[in-house]
């Protein structure tokens, strides 16, 4: 009965994956909508019985958690690094995928740069041999990035993505200033 009301983690994650890129409140609405029962016409005794019978229900749920170690959801991070499973909606660092010929889809339109609230992205464009404006350097300052996904949503060419890397600790800002494109000035 409880499984009906609260979908398990796996179902919630597959649903979220099917929904595509997460929007606020779009993820697993069942989790946020409690079943509301209209009690205005319920008799007093029924209300009392409902209250009394709900106490053992709640106690039974917690007791089942106490005796089922398999239901523990905690993940012990440094120990489980090898087989860490992240939800598909988890947003890590911004990357720029390159195809097999080393080409990317970026046209240096700077929409992502304008969408970024923190000034994380700087696009330095250059001119190609044919006189066309092309991407020179895609500078991404990870130290300023809040991983908010706005640049990904702004990109009309699907040129940038977010991967699931999250271990960024460094002793200075310098190693966190990344250039996402591999080659300069080609299209």
């Amino acid at each position: 009965m409880m499984e009906k009301q609260f979908p398990s983690k796996e179902t919630a994650f597959t649903q979220a994956a099917a929904m595509g890129p997460p929007r606020l409140g779009a993820f697993a609405p069942e989790l946020f909508q409690a079943e509301r029962v209209d009690q205005t016409n319920t008799s007093y005794l029924k209300k009392v019985w409902g209250a009394l019978s709900s106490i053992p229900q709640g106690l039974a749920v917690t007791l089942s958690y106490l005796f089922n170690p398999k239901k523990i959801v905690t993940r012990q991070y440094p120990e489980n690094r090898k087989n860490l499973k992240l939800a598909s909606r988890f947003r890590g660092q911004v990357i720029m995928p390159h195809d097999s010929e080393g080409e990317h889809k970026c046209t240096a339109c700077t929409l992502c740069e304008k969408a970024c609230p923190n000034g994380t992205i700087s696009i330095l464009s250059t001119t190609s041999v044919s006189g066309k404006k092309v991407l020179g350097q895609f500078i991404y300052r990870l130290s300023q990035c809040t991983l908010c996904n706005l640049c990904i949503e702004a990109c009309p060419f699907d040129a940038i993505h977010m991967n699931q890397e999250f271990e960024f600790a460094a002793y200075s800002r310098k190693p966190l200033d990344l250039i996402l494109n591999k080659k300069e000035g080609r299209t």
Partner: protein, 370 residues
């Protein structure tokens, strides 16, 4: 045979250790020495069990919520409480500006006084009790209410609205539920015909069915449930933890307390939990008596169980009750203040009076288990 053995134990009211001291040390010093030994034992018992209980609460609460709980400091996280205690000892003790210094420093001590006074009358084993006054139950009811002074003073002297609200709520709650609790104490006194805690335990001698929870059919169980509810409220624990209610009062009456003084409140809270469970075990579950089943042909089980010291039996029963309290706390949502007082005055109080009337009439009519 069982009963004569018990009567013999009942006559020997002193512990062999106390006798040995009295025989070897001249009189005024022997009593003083005995008292010091008793005080040290109680302080050790309270501090060690609180260390364990805080760990147990965190661990069990975590498991109830499908988490793991403390598991880094020591085996199974057992030393977590010690680490937290050391941290609290090293913290700076602050006093808010405009607070009443005398009351502010006095308040954390009062709940502890209540703890140690209650401990001094509880029977831990057949011959292990510091003092056995004739009106032990009355004494217990009186001193267990002392803790509320500490909470009120803390709330009032902190010069903070959250503290004041928390203290006032706690006082209203404890004073209300004290009535039900005392009526249940009265129920036990009426049943066992004595107000001495030691005699209350011995009145439950025999098999499991002679414990007061089972002896009066159903009424005993009802009284036990009422005891659980009203003592949970008396302890300011969830679902009745209005005094702390961290979502609305940040920390309740101990919002402004830091370091060692906060630790004292915390210590008293868990020591009160231990005392409530010990009292529940003493009144309803046969106290330090070993459970006997009295099944013909299987008496050897009863004899084997009786070999385990009574102190361990009492602690085991109290442990079961503590787990039940924790189960309530981490399963049920918190009540509102008006719901809380409604529950006491409109439901629990009539129910305890009814239980008292039912219990006495069952006893008068002889409707008790043989």
């Amino acid at each position: 045979m069982q009963s004569t053995h018990l009567e013999q134990i009942q006559l020997e009211k002193t512990h062999p250790l106390g006798e040995f001291l009295r025989a070897n040390i001249p009189e005024p010093f022997a009593t003083l020495f005995n008292l010091i030994v008793a005080a040290v034992c109680i302080v050790a018992l309270v501090s060690f069990s609180v260390l364990f209980l805080v760990w147990l609460e965190r661990k069990i609460c975590a498991r109830f919520q499908a988490r793991i709980g403390p598991n880094r400091v020591g085996p199974f996280g057992l030393l977590q409480t010690v680490a937290d205690g050391i941290k609290l000892f090293l913290k700076e003790g602050l006093r808010p500006r405009g607070s009443d210094a005398f009351a502010y420093y006095l308040a954390p001590l009062l709940p502890l006084i209540s703890v140690f006074l209650s401990m001094s009358v509880l029977p831990f084993d057949h011959n292990l009790q510091i003092s056995d006054p004739q009106a032990g139950v009355l004494f217990l009811a009186a001193v267990s209410g002392l803790g509320v002074f500490g909470i009120l003073l803390a709330g009032w002297s902190s010069n903070n609205k959250y503290s004041l609200l928390g203290g006032m709520r706690a006082a209203a709650q404890i004073l209300s539920y004290e009535i039900s609790l005392t009526l249940i104490f009265l129920f036990i006194v009426v049943l066992s015909g004595t107000a001495s805690l030691r005699e209350v335990v011995f009145s439950q001698a025999g098999t499991i069915l002679d414990w007061w929870i089972f002896k009066i059919p159903l009424v005993g169980l009802l009284a036990f449930l009422l005891f659980l509810i009203s003592s949970t409220a008396e302890l300011n624990r969830g679902p009745f933890d209005m005094a702390e209610a961290e979502s609305e009062l940040t920390g309740g009456y101990h919002t402004e307390y830091t370091g060692i003084r906060f630790a004292l409140f915390f210590l008293a809270e868990y020591a009160h939990l231990l005392i409530a469970s010990l009292v529940g075990a003493t009144f309803f579950l046969g106290g330090f008596l070993a459970p006997a089943f009295g099944i013909p042909g299987l008496e050897f089980i009863d004899r084997a169980l009786a070999q385990i010291p009574g102190f361990l039996w009492l602690m085991l029963k109290a442990f079961v009750l503590i787990v039940i309290y924790m189960w309530f706390r981490w399963s049920l949502p918190r009540l509102r203040v008006d719901q809380l007082l409604d529950l006491e005055w409109k439901f629990l109080l009539p129910m305890t009076l009814l239980t008292l009337a039912l219990g006495t009439s069952f006893l008068g009519l002889g409707w008790i288990l043989p």
